[in-house]
């Protein structure tokens, strides 16, 4: 009996055009990774070098872009480009943190629910459906309502909201894998559950989960920006991009660069993550034509 994961995917239906499709797909992945790496690279650079110190207020109030200050300064005289780089740390940190929280909690809960049977399974399905009925941002707002606005709270809140989605996906995937013949065979052969999970279930569901987590990372970045924009995320003086956009809207007519740069940075990072997810999906699941 073959346990090669490749054999799990049904063969591509006749009439699809795998070659041409594949070329387009990797283009997604490459562009996505480039965009993400540009942001990640800038963030890494920001740890060794910044144009100005984060709290250097020597730039003068609301200096227009150009000269020393690529994007101008904020009202305290801090360099906006420096702020933008630091905002990148928060954006990436949110993405990584929320994905870590959501991934670990979601996959564990999903695995448990996936192995549950009968009424327990029904109950798990209903609970997960309900948790998903709380949209990410609302759940995050709720948690922020009690725990207070901070980056940690925001990450935790977004991660928790994400966990429900990941858990539901994991549950469905686990059910699919468990329904396959070779699992039955392994069980009949007396292989222990932990071994089945480690050897058969996880490797089989990992690609789809990976794709989903990449998508969720982009959503997490957007959610953090929205929370910060509403004043419920990263508190000032930390320069979250959402926060920068909030501050910049007062001067959108006089200093448009401040209202454009963080928005563009956000879009670049999120598109990068989405394209990466698309590309990964096409790599792991060549049947899907994107």
């Amino acid at each position: 009996m073959s346990l090669d994961p490749e054999t799990l995917s049904p063969p591509a239906p006749a009439g699809t055009a795998p070659r041409k499709a594949r070329r387009r797909l990797s283009w997604h992945l490459v562009l996505g990774l480039i965009l993400v790496l540009v942001v990640a690279g800038a963030v890494l650079v920001s740890y060794v070098w910044l144009p100005f110190a984060p709290d250097d207020t020597s730039g003068g109030r609301l200096t227009p872009p150009g000269g020393d200050h690529l994007l101008g300064t904020d009202k305290l005289g801090r360099d906006l480009f420096t702020q933008l780089l630091i905002g990148g740390r928060i954006a990436l940190g949110t993405a990584l943190g929320a994905v870590a929280v959501g991934g670990v909690l979601g996959v564990s809960a999903g695995l448990l629910a996936g192995f549950a049977t009968r009424w327990l399974d029904d109950a798990a399905a209903v609970v997960l459906d309900i948790l998903i009925a709380f949209p990410t941002l609302l759940l995050a707002m709720l948690i922020v309502a009690g725990a207070g606005a901070s980056l940690g709270t925001a990450i935790l809140a977004i991660g928790l909201a994400m966990a429900a989605i990941v858990a539901r996906l994991t549950r469905v995937l686990v059910k699919q894998v468990l329904a396959r013949d070779y699992i039955t065979a392994a069980r009949v052969a007396g292989v222990s559950w932990p071994r089945i999970v480690a050897a058969h279930v996880l490797p089989n569901i990992a690609p789809v989960l990976l794709v989903n987590l990449a998508l969720q990372a982009g959503l997490a970045v957007l959610a953090e920006a929205s929370l910060s924009y509403l004043g419920l995320g990263t508190p000032p003086p930390n320069a979250s991009w959402g926060r920068m956009l909030f501050e910049a809207q007062a001067t959108v007519l006089t200093a448009p660069a401040a209202a454009l740069a963080p928005g563009i940075a956000l879009v670049v990072l999120v598109i990068g993550m989405n394209l990466t997810a698309d590309g990964l999906r096409d790599l792991t699941d060549p049947r899907r034509r994107r």
Partner: protein, 316 residues
């Protein structure tokens, strides 16, 4: 079908109760004393104790929950801690903004997304198929509040053709002004919403385009358009119907954020204010109403899907 309806209704009711529990527990687990919010700066410990008694927060959690559930069952959502006004009417007063905003944004998004998504799939081989797809990709990555900000800058501040925000004092009594003030918010939410819908529609259409039955129809002499119209769209609609319910919930969420950009007196404003003022009954009320709406919409979405797909009508 009847059996399914009963079963699904039971699940809906169970979900509503469970959602209430989750909401209640979450809000109680969180730190912060509602009595503080009630009294503000200058309260003595005795006053705080009295306030706790008045709020009922000195009772055991289970008692508090049952009391609350009983109140909710009679449509009493409690009183705001800050304004001491009842929460229910406050929520109802906000609906004339949030409901039209959410629904029209949703309708606009669907009206844009369906043709564009189908086009992006069927014309994947022409130049504009990928372009449409790229635009949708961009739309997904753009935060709604930023779109709102840019639209305000262009249409309200520069071109002066639409109001920058606010809602007329007479509400819908002044229909023209009310409609005007919702144009930019609706466009904002619809733009962002349609982006993700386009991708769903496109992907569902692509799946259908590669399907055997479409090929059969073509092989038996149907033109591409006939085949797509008679067999493709119906089949593509099934997975799209499943996400529409979720999308409607997301639209509502987009409305929450966008309301604050456009200074609209909707549920979003109420919720953000409730959160920043630690006004638990308000937060609880708004969350309960929105969660219930999402659950009911999900229920309707499931029913619609079941009606559209005969394979789901018999339980396997």
């Amino acid at each position: 079908m009847i059996a399914y309806l009963l079963r699904r209704t039971a699940i809906l009711l169970g979900s509503l109760v469970l959602a209430a529990v989750v909401l209640f527990v979450l809000l109680r687990l969180l730190p912060g004393d509602p009595a503080n919010a009630l009294l503000g700066v200058g309260a003595t410990p005795e006053q705080i104790e009295a306030a706790r008694r008045e709020l009922g927060t000195d009772a055991p959690l289970a008692t508090q929950f049952l009391r609350w559930l009983a109140d909710v069952a009679t449509l009493d959502l409690g009183k705001s801690l800050v304004s001491s006004l009842p929460v229910g009417p406050e929520i109802v007063a906000r609906l004339p903004v949030t409901v039209p905003l959410t629904l029209s944004a949703f309708v606009v998004a669907v009206l844009v997304a369906v043709p564009v998504g189908v086009l992006a799939a069927t014309r994947a081989d022409r130049w504009y198929g990928p372009v449409l797809n790229a635009i949708a990709q961009l739309g997904i990555a753009v935060p709604a509040f930023w779109v709102g900000l840019l639209l305000i800058t262009v249409f309200a501040l520069r071109l002066r053709v639409l109001p920058a925000g606010g809602f007329p004092p007479d509400g819908w009594g002044d229909f023209g002004a009310a409609a005007q003030s919702l144009v930019l918010p609706v466009v904002t939410v619809a733009l962002v919403m349609s982006a993700s819908l386009i991708r769903y529609v496109r992907s569902a259409t692509l799946d259908v385009l590669g399907s055997d039955f479409l090929r059969t129809a073509r092989a038996l002499g149907a033109s591409p358009a006939q085949a797509l119209w008679r067999h493709g769209l119906r089949n593509a609609a099934v997975p799209v119907l499943a996400v529409l319910a979720m999308e409607l919930a997301t639209t509502f969420l987009g409305a929450v954020v966008v309301e604050s950009v456009f200074a609209l007196p909707g549920l979003g404003g109420l919720l953000t204010r409730g959160i920043s003022q630690h006004d638990y009954p308000v937060v609880q009320g708004v969350m309960l109403v929105s969660t219930a709406t999402v659950l009911v919409v999900g229920f309707l979405g499931d029913l619609a899907q079941r009606l559209a797909d005969p394979r789901l009508r018999v339980r396997p």
